[in-house]
Symmetry: D2
Subunit: 329 residues, 4 copies
């Protein structure tokens, strides 16, 4: 049984809490959150102890940390956990600054601990199936990858202000997914965007609608289509066109009941947001982390993946601002 | 060029008029309808002559008749045309009385003319494809055939009163389709029904919702589901379950544009009724009749098919009234 | 925390074991199975004790029983549990004999214990949604219900021999579903069938392909289409046609990735069988039983539902044998 | 009845020949093609006369020309027809050189004749419906338009060499479609591409896989995804994301029959290529030209539309070559 210290009791912390507790080989030993009341509540629910960061890091019975706290605490916590010799699961991103990420990963490397970065979509059964079919040769050589990724509704402008911008906050998942599916690192990035959904997002210095084009050494291209608002739920689709056809992962709908009436035939919308859509992915992601803890697997998505996705996001921002394609390396 | 005498200027007469005129090898020579004004209008539109029945039958330049008049005139017109040596296309049914049908077909046989009975759905490209795939062995041996056939909205009670009832008027198409797809003649019929859509239909002595089960010598069963009202257009579907899987012909929708909104995802309803849904079938049906005229084909759906479908409809009525399965032959 | 005695360690016993153990308010206290080795293994896995039937019934710490043993033990175990004052969850059927069922239910009634009969499909999220939409008036008054229910592949003839026949073993789920969806009890049953899938089933005195028609007091009809073999997975669909349109619950596919290639476009088959298809239903069913244990709910599917479904299955058999519609009551 | 001179007897000339002949108000009077044998055959089929260009232009009985000849003859024929006072239908493009197009359109303007440029997809019922729904406010303000347009298989390299390149030959349809749907003219173009399908295309100086991003004054973006090969038929889809949801026009399949088997569920591929997919569009396009001839409509797609689409194609090429976004005007 592995004892886990859970950092952060917010929405995503609660998702992981459920999965840690439900897994036969892990349990929550410590809960750490500056919001004391929330920490107490979660700790009580799972029979855990509320601790300070230092207490948790010093506790020899804690085997691993699950970092779900605010983004600007990730890199510090990773470093402390690494120095304390604990295995690390950290929600994306490691940090919003590439240099901070690099420094952090050096600490992790030197400590020789395992680090799994939480790009949850890599574990989604639909996208996994698509990648497996691609790997099995179902569509031959990859040519064009089209990722549609649209949130149901825009976040508040205050969130946008600290988010690092749409590329680092939202597209980063899709940039990672492109690398994950194609198994290549891009050689150029071209980004385009508009503020169409909410003027407050524009006033916060960001855009809310984006298109990003990646080119890969093989010549394959990835086309990412993002929006902060779909109007019809969480739109998460992937199309992979290859030399022998197409693979296409559709949305997961709220249910499968259709209504045929005198106006039209209607079916359910896509599941509303990531908590529903990626519920199974979070479970499988935690299973993978347990496999890492048990020495059965190496992290499928490690620090370098977090770093490369951030590099692509930064390049997208540069491309957007300079109206040109940014070459990488 | 074959000259055609068109009997009947109603809805279905107009459908055939368009197709006769559009075919490079046929033209409308005569139009016959007791409703003189309608006949004149149609004749003018196609450069044809308004004639009486006798004139048309006597006209040596008329090679074939297309009978789209009221049901109770079909058998008489078929006989007159047969005696006049003309090839005959007749809308279903030949007559609502089995004995009248038998007598009429004897006249046709003795005259040695070609008779094509208009079960239009046999020419529908979707159902044709299904049958061709079945014939090619795509699902092995037939086991269960499910035909869903629902009109968009109920006819007026006055129509119901002279229609011969739902089995002879509506289910007859599906009874023929079951024979067409499976290539067998049923050995028993079981029918069930209710009057749910419009009480006036019940008062007219008919039902508006029906289920018919046919059993075939091979053991295969056909399950026909009928209603005078779908509420969402013309519902015309076929599922054929066989020893190696299923073939399934879906509805043809009004268009292929989906709308995804905050309530649900909607797509277009099925095409509204037979004029839209079977537009292509009517064209292909007429092409087949021209092939018959040209000696290139024998009627795929002849008098005997009309007779057998009516026999099944009569058996369905008997089954409904007696609450038991009716064995045939 | 409710302590549960689990009777039967077979396939379905294991499904419930997982759900009992995963529920925060229930745990497996005792495992009972004549196959001792299986009982030991399951007991060890969940920290439970292997007991005899009498030991389990006598154990005051056991609050409820979960009966997943062979069909012919159900009624006896229900009676013993009732006399021991334990709440009862029993997999369908209570018994294959109607008189045995009636006697058993009298014992339960006299004991005043709660009995939940396991018609798992009632808890399926898809069918629940369909029923909720119907109850909310989405399609008006019910007219025709079409239930397609086809197993992926036929059971061995030995199983068929003790199964009670297709109606009592397989259609019974659909007969219950018809009552569940429509909220009415049928007034007549008409059944039709063939042995097409496996001659050994016929030699065992059963059929493997069936169609059952139910009529309800409202005039609504239910049309059940069963087969022991689909050839493409577990085909579980429901269509409800009402006065204002149709509701349609489709199959749950293995995944949502399509492959478009030079032959055709392909998508995944329906999930293979009930363990996958009704995984969530079993969890929700157990949650409902816990609600019953906690006094928060009355059994949604009690002894009388088990009895009525069996009555319908018996009537179907009578109808099949006598080639007539069987009137009920 | 309008007499039409048909220039060009190739694949697309034959499409128009059928539609001209089938329309009640038009007939083919003259056929002009340097390939004499083809001209004779087509002329015979439709009761027309083979003429030289000059004869046709001089014939006072010819009301309009339908130009389906080789691309490099279009501008000359348009000018001659304009000077001869004939209404003009011309297949796209007017010419591959923007300056030649401008000169040609000046001649047309001065002559005051009607010119309809054949961007056939504007008349496709699916895309029309999408635009009508958008115009009716179904999805609010446009945000992102995604056009997927992939040919079934690549053309021979010889064709590529004279085609003007993928942007002028293939993407031009999608560039026009973006203008047609959104009702705006782009302010910038960014293009990306690879040669992945056939090295011979690369040797011919072209690419075969392209992504083009257009930005519009409203902030809306259009994302065009092109390939010379789909591997599964003619992939023609449009998604329009707006402030209130999405409209999505799917592919038209070869038929609607699904096969469910032990491997997967399969449905028919998209119709193979433009002759099938846009059959109805060509008919509606010709109807629109007849409306123009009859003074009932102004050309919905005139010379300026042809010119603007070419401008966008040229800008795409410039963007591709210079790795930057090209601003327009």
């Amino acid at each position: 049984m592995f004892n886990i210290a859970l950092f952060g009791c917010g929405r995503i912390g609660k998702v992981h809490a459920v999965n840690i507790a439900a897994h036969p080989n892990t349990q929550i030993k410590a809960v750490i959150d500056p919001y004391h009341e929330g920490a107490v509540q979660l700790a009580n629910q799972y029979g855990a102890t509320v601790m300070s960061v230092d207490e948790a890091m010093a506790d020899k019975d804690i085997h691993a940390v699950c970092i779900c706290s605010a983004t600007d605490t990730h890199a510090d916590l990773i470093e402390q956990a690494a120095l304390a010799g604990k295995a690390i699961f950290c929600e994306k991103p490691i940090d919003l600054s590439l240099s901070r990420v690099a420094a952090c990963l050096e600490v992790v490397d030197n400590a020789g601990v395992k680090l799994l970065v939480g790009f949850n979509r890599r574990y989604d059964p639909q996208f996994r199936t698509l990648r497996e079919l691609f790997d099995s040769g179902a569509v031959g050589k990859a040519e064009t990858l089209v990722i549609t990724s649209r949130d149901p509704s825009p976040p508040p402008a205050e969130y946008v202000r600290v988010s690092g911008g749409i590329f680092r906050d939202m597209s980063i998942h899709d940039l990672d997914m492109a690398r994950f599916i194609l198994g290549e690192d891009p050689i150029s990035v071209s980004a385009h965007g508009s503020c169409l959904v909410d003027p407050a997002i524009g006033e916060a210095g960001d855009i809310d609608s984006a298109v990003v084009i990646l080119r890969f050494p093989s010549g394959a291209m990835a086309n990412i289509i993002n929006s902060r608002r779909s109007g019809y739920g969480y739109d998460q689709r992937i199309e992979l066109h290859g030399s022998k056809g197409m693979l296409k992962a559709g949305n997961v709908r709220e249910h499968l009941v259709e209504h045929w009436g005198d106006e039209h035939c209607s079916s359910a919308k896509p599941q509303n947001f990531f908590l529903e859509r990626y519920k199974e992915a979070y479970i499988d992601e935690w299973q993978h982390f347990v496999d890492v803890l048990e020495g059965k697997a190496e992290p499928q998505c490690s620090g370098i993946d977090g770093e490369l996705a951030l590099e692509l996001a930064d390049a997208a921002l540069e491309s957007l601002q300079q109206h040109k394609t940014v070459e990488l390396k």
